[in-house]
């Protein structure tokens, strides 16, 4: 089916020329729909030097529905749920903003950009968002600590 054809091509492109700070591979070689994404924390962010594992899951209706992205590595971030799901859902990842002509590369770059520039106004973790806005240095401190604790090999 067309969906697999497209996913295969997008995967090939990402493996062939990986974007900065992002490495992808299939979680299971026999399943095109679940990817492991290894993301380097962006420089000049509290996530710098961290290696984050993300799970990218493609719906069977892809590309008519957006992929879902979740952090498997614990992360202190206003836009990532602070639970074992680590889910992230905003911007182009939302079903009503998703375009079938968007590509996975853009999704991954969007996710990494979000590490560099959180969007506290669209937060899922209100407390972290408050801190991000009102006590930024404390936010950075905790985020760095979590990065060291959970995202360093």
């Amino acid at each position: 089916m067309g969906s697999q054809k497209r996913i295969a091509k997008e995967l090939a492109e990402l493996v062939e020329s990986p974007p900065e700070g992002i490495v992808v591979k299939l979680a299971d070689e026999s399943n095109l729909y679940t990817w492991n994404v290894y993301m380097d924390g962006p420089e000049k962010s509290p996530y710098q030097n961290g290696k984050f594992l993300l799970n990218l899951s493609l719906p069977t209706e892809y590309p008519f529905k957006p992929p879902t992205v979740s952090f498997k590595t614990k992360i202190y971030h206003p836009n990532v749920t602070n639970d074992d799901k680590g889910s992230m859902c905003l911007g182009m990842l939302r079903a009503d903003e998703w375009k079938p002509s968007s590509k996975i590369l853009a999704v991954l770059q969007f996710a990494r950009q979000l590490l560099a520039e959180p969007m506290p106004d669209d937060a899922v973790e209100g407390r972290i968002a408050e801190q991000f806005k009102n006590d930024h240095s404390r936010y950075e401190e905790v985020a760095k600590e979590w990065t060291r604790k959970y995202a360093t090999l």
């Binding site: 969906s3 054809k5 497209r6 091509k9 997008e10 009503d96 998703w98 375009k99 079938p100």
Partner: protein
């Protein structure tokens, strides 16, 4: 994101409520698709927002932030609860009239008239894609109806050539090729169907009811529309309330955003018009008048075929105009065909006597023009009782599918017009009714007068139309020959 950025497209109908108009119950009928769409959307919202005696829109500003957020969340999570297949089979338009039977009288009158002028309809699921789906399906259905392989080839080539547009906007082929593939697959199915003499459109309905191919085709058409708009910004920009790029990104490119007037015009301009098919919208609203308001989006068709849309606020369906002939058994059509030349018979009956030698040849004398006029039918005598072009007279209703004969949806396609007259031999064997050819004008007369109503300018108001009578609230429409049709 603020409330002003609400994705209104989800419940577009609200935008169409005239100012000061509240949600009178029964204003919109219980429609299985479309009104479930707006009833649901509207009621859900109105439950939250509508305070009796106050105006929803004016009250927005006074709402607290918490309330605003709640509504925002409601609207974000809103999913219309719609039933039924994405594309239904053809059904009688009396269904629409029935839905409105207890609604505002304007709707009742208009839908009753609509069931006569457009006896068949095809319902599109109100899932946010209905307008896109209606146009795309109508396009392919017209192509199938033309039964012209060259035309299919030509259209396929034309649509493929539009990839050049996509290269400019989507840029990478692998991001759009699967959508184009799905569209091409439908072209191939149409090609095969025509080659095998299949006129039945069930395979098309199936293709559009299959989630993947349906989404892919609609996405293809969306991408083409968006690319077309970006290529011709000056034609659309002035009508948009936001920058064109943003409009395309939020209203065209995203899945399940209902098409609006500008998007529809762009879709027609960029994708459909090149086919020569016309696109006509019948607006069903509470405006003055007794019939729906037609609006042609294209120049009159060059190659035949019309995609006829029924628009109700927030929803599109397909309509099929009445066939120029009455849906009757073919044998009746013979008589009808003869009526086109009834005047000379009536006046002198000489034609028959003169040609008496020919009368013995089966199949021949049925067409009184045989041997006199190379056209399929003789030119009708100027008469106030005739409006349909002679060619149309021969069109059997689609249900009598007789493969060798070309049936074009009205108006007739040039290929048909230039083709030789439909072979009479393709009609049911004459032998059974051969002796019944009542060539004696004295015998013919009563029949002629009976068939006269179908040749009036109001050919669509055929009393033979079932839809006409099925509605309990049916009220006869009084036609005056001096009235001009609206």
């Amino acid at each position: 994101m603020s409330l002003s950025d609400l994705p209104w497209n989800h419940f577009d109908p609200i935008n169409h409520f005239p100012t000061g108009q509240d949600s009178t119950s029964g204003f919109y009928p219980q429609h299985p698709h479309s009104s479930a769409f707006f009833d649901h959307g509207y009621s859900q919202l109105s439950n939250a927002l509508y305070h009796p005696g106050s105006n929803f829109f004016f009250n927005m500003n006074t709402l607290s932030t918490a309330e605003m957020e709640r509504f925002q969340k409601l609207s974000n999570e809103f999913q219309p609860d719609v039933q039924g297949p994405p594309v239904s089979t053809k059904q009688s338009s009396s269904v629409i009239a029935m839905e409105y039977a207890n609604a505002d009288p304007t709707f009742a009158t208009k839908t009753n008239a609509l069931a006569i002028t457009h006896p068949l309809t095809r319902t599109m699921k109100g899932d946010g894609n209905c307008g896109w789906r209606a146009v795309a399906f109508g396009y392919f259905e017209n192509l199938l109806n033309l039964q012209n392989l060259m035309q299919v080839d030509h259209e396929l080539a034309r649509i493929r050539a539009l990839n050049a547009l996509l290269n400019q906007t989507v840029q990478e082929e692998h991001l759009y090729e699967i959508f184009v593939d799905a569209t091409e697959d439908v072209f191939n199915q149409i090609y095969d169907a025509i080659r095998n003499g299949i006129r039945d459109e069930t395979f098309l309905v199936n293709a559009f009811n299959q989630e993947y191919s349906s989404s892919a085709i609609i996405t293809h058409f969306r991408l083409l529309t968006s690319a077309w708009m970006k290529r011709h910004p000056s034609r659309y920009e002035a009508f948009l309330s936001m920058p064109l790029e943003q409009y395309c990104a939020t209203r065209i490119d995203v899945v399940r955003t209902e098409i609006d007037e500008i998007g529809l015009q762009a879709l027609v301009d960029g994708v459909i018009e090149g086919s020569g098919f016309a696109v006509e919208i019948m607006y069903l609203d509470r405006s003055e008048g007794e019939t729906v308001t037609p609006h042609l989006l294209t120049p009159p068709p060059a190659t035949g075929g019309t995609i006829c849309l029924l628009y109700r606020p927030g929803h599109y369906d397909l309509l099929y105009p009445a066939e120029p002939t009455v849906n009757m058994e073919p044998v009746v059509n013979y008589q009808y065909a003869m009526t086109s030349d009834y005047a000379p018979w009536d006046q002198g009956a000489l034609a028959f006597d003169v040609n008496s030698s020919l009368m013995t040849i089966p199949n021949l004398m049925m067409d009184p023009s045989f041997g006199m006029d190379p056209s399929p039918m003789p030119a009708a005598p100027p008469s106030p009782y005739r409006v349909s072009p002679p060619q149309e007279v021969y069109q059997p209703p689609p249900m009598h599918a007789s493969p060798p004969m070309s049936i074009a949806s009205p108006p007739p396609a040039p290929p048909r017009m230039s083709a030789p007259p439909p072979p009479m031999s393709s009609l049911p064997p004459r032998s059974s009714d051969g002796p019944q050819i009542r060539l004696n004008p004295l015998v013919m007369k009563p029949n002629l007068s009976h068939s006269l109503p179908v040749t009036t300018p109001f050919k669509n108001s055929s009393p033979y139309n079932q839809a006409h009578f099925q509605n309990q609230d049916f009220e006869p429409i009084h036609w005056e020959p001096s009235d001009s049709r609206k």
